[in-house]
């Protein structure tokens, strides 16, 4: 494997995983907050749906996604109308698959992080004239920051490693949708373990670099 080839795969993977983290992250944080703070009807149902991608084998997720994105489904047709082409077999599909898989992880971490913020502090902020969104932005978010950041990075790591669902909806088109996880799979199946482990190292690096950066960043913030 040449260096540019490896770098290409790494860059593509980064793009896919970052997009996935973004797609999953925002609703996951919101949902995590809602789960930690509110009681609402249908909460158990929501929790069930959130857990789904955890419990299913990735092929099943892939299949469901394939169904969603296919021309047979309204969502698939809507996407096609919006993007001018089907999302299947593009890196967007890979990002979507990774997002689905990362979603429960981030949601769970966010729920845990928000639940650890003392209600009392949120309440004091409210007496100081902060309404719901203000309290969220100025109290809950900063106090949960560490947990949220780690949760998000955790989701990012999971997105990096996503394989089953991704390969189903995105194919494994070198240079287009072949992420590190897919490339590692291919190398292993072709008995090129050396290359596979090298790519695994790259993958690990991608996963840990932001974690390390975050650690340093958070430490600074604490001084």
């Amino acid at each position: 494997m040449t260096l540019p080839e490896t770098a290409g795969i790494a860059l593509l993977t980064l793009r896919v995983a970052l997009t996935a983290t973004l797609i999953a992250g925002v609703p996951a944080l919101a949902l995590g907050y809602a789960l930690a703070r509110f009681r609402f009807p249908g909460k158990p149902l929501v929790q069930t749906v959130v857990a789904l991608p955890m419990v299913l084998p990735p092929v099943a997720i892939g299949l469901a996604l394939l169904e969603c994105l296919s021309r047979r489904s309204p969502f698939g047709r809507a996407c096609e109308a919006l993007f001018g082409q089907t999302l299947l077999l593009t890196w967007w599909a890979a990002a979507l698959a990774s997002a689905v898989v990362a979603f429960p992880l981030i949601t769970r971490a966010a729920e845990q992080a928000f639940a650890a913020v003392p209600l009392r502090l949120e309440h004091v902020a409210r007496t100081l004239g902060c309404s719901g969104p203000g309290v969220f932005r100025r109290i809950s978010l900063p106090l949960a920051a560490r947990g949220l950041l780690y949760g998000t990075l955790f989701g990012f790591a999971r997105a990096l490693g996503e394989f089953g669902a991704t390969s189903m909806v995105a194919g494994r088109i070198p240079g287009e949708t072949e992420t590190l996880a897919l490339a590692i799979y291919g190398r292993i199946e072709m008995f090129r373990e050396g290359e596979a482990w090298m790519l695994a190292g790259v993958s690990l690096l991608l996963a840990l670099a932001p974690t390390a950066a975050a650690e340093i960043f958070l430490r600074r913030g604490e001084r």
Partner: protein, 224 residues
């Protein structure tokens, strides 16, 4: 050679699923002279598992190479080709041929590590078409995954086995290259797991009853 009759543990290539486990309730045990426990994996995984010491009694691979890699880990004398398969191109209904695939459409194919993918590539290369098609390949990690892409409409063409053509639910046409290679399914007893039951099972694979049944599902029968 064992005191108690026990289930023969069989590791089979994924594409044999239709031949070996056709019914919803699984295996039709009445036809098999021994009790069997069956698992389906990619052929490469099977050979890897046997290499690692996994205790299969019999392995059924979709290519000879996977067995070749195992060398003395299989009992050479028990090796036999028991079914064959043909390559197939699936596409939209109508007349269909490799050269008729529109120049820009994507084509789903299993990875080169999968016997079907390998066989297709070899054939395309031999017939000088690989270069033209390769850039448009969508690589799936199994023949089934390639088929799923075809079914979902993500691709309109896929390169699979003839047996898969029967399983696809999407309305389609199938074309088998007349000059295409014949894939051979090879069975062998794993070294150290040799037993009368294992040999009986391998023998059964060559029985007319089984082979006729498999033929109905699109498999070919090797010349005796």
């Amino acid at each position: 050679s064992r005191p108690l009759p026990r289930a023969v543990r069989v590791g089979a290539a994924s594409s044999l699923r239709e031949a070996l486990m056709p019914s919803a309730t699984g295996f039709d045990a009445r036809n098999i002279p021994v009790s069997v426990n069956m698992t389906f994996e990619a052929s490469s995984t099977l050979s890897r598992q046997v290499e690692a010491g996994a205790e299969y009694d019999v392995v059924l691979c979709a290519d000879a190479e996977s067995l070749d890699r195992l060398g003395s880990r299989v009992v050479e004398t028990t090796r036999r080709v028991f079914l064959t398969n043909r390559l197939a191109l699936l596409g939209p209904q109508g007349t269909l041929a490799l050269d008729g695939i529109p120049a820009t459409t994507k084509v789903a194919i299993a990875g080169p590590e999968v016997p079907a993918g390998k066989a297709w590539r070899k054939y395309l290369e031999g017939s000088g078409r690989l270069a033209g098609l390769e850039a448009r390949f969508v690589i799936a990690d199994s023949v089934r995954a390639a088929l799923a892409l075809f079914e979902s409409g993500a691709v309109d063409y896929t390169l699979v086995y003839a047996t898969d053509a029967k399983a696809a639910k999407r309305a389609h046409a199938a074309w088998t290259p007349p000059d295409g290679p014949v894939t051979e399914y090879v069975a062998a007893v794993v070294a150290g797991r040799d037993s009368a039951e294992a040999r009986t099972f391998v023998g059964w694979l060559g029985s007319a009853g089984f082979q006729e049944d498999a033929r109905k599902r699109g498999f070919g029968i090797p010349p005796k």
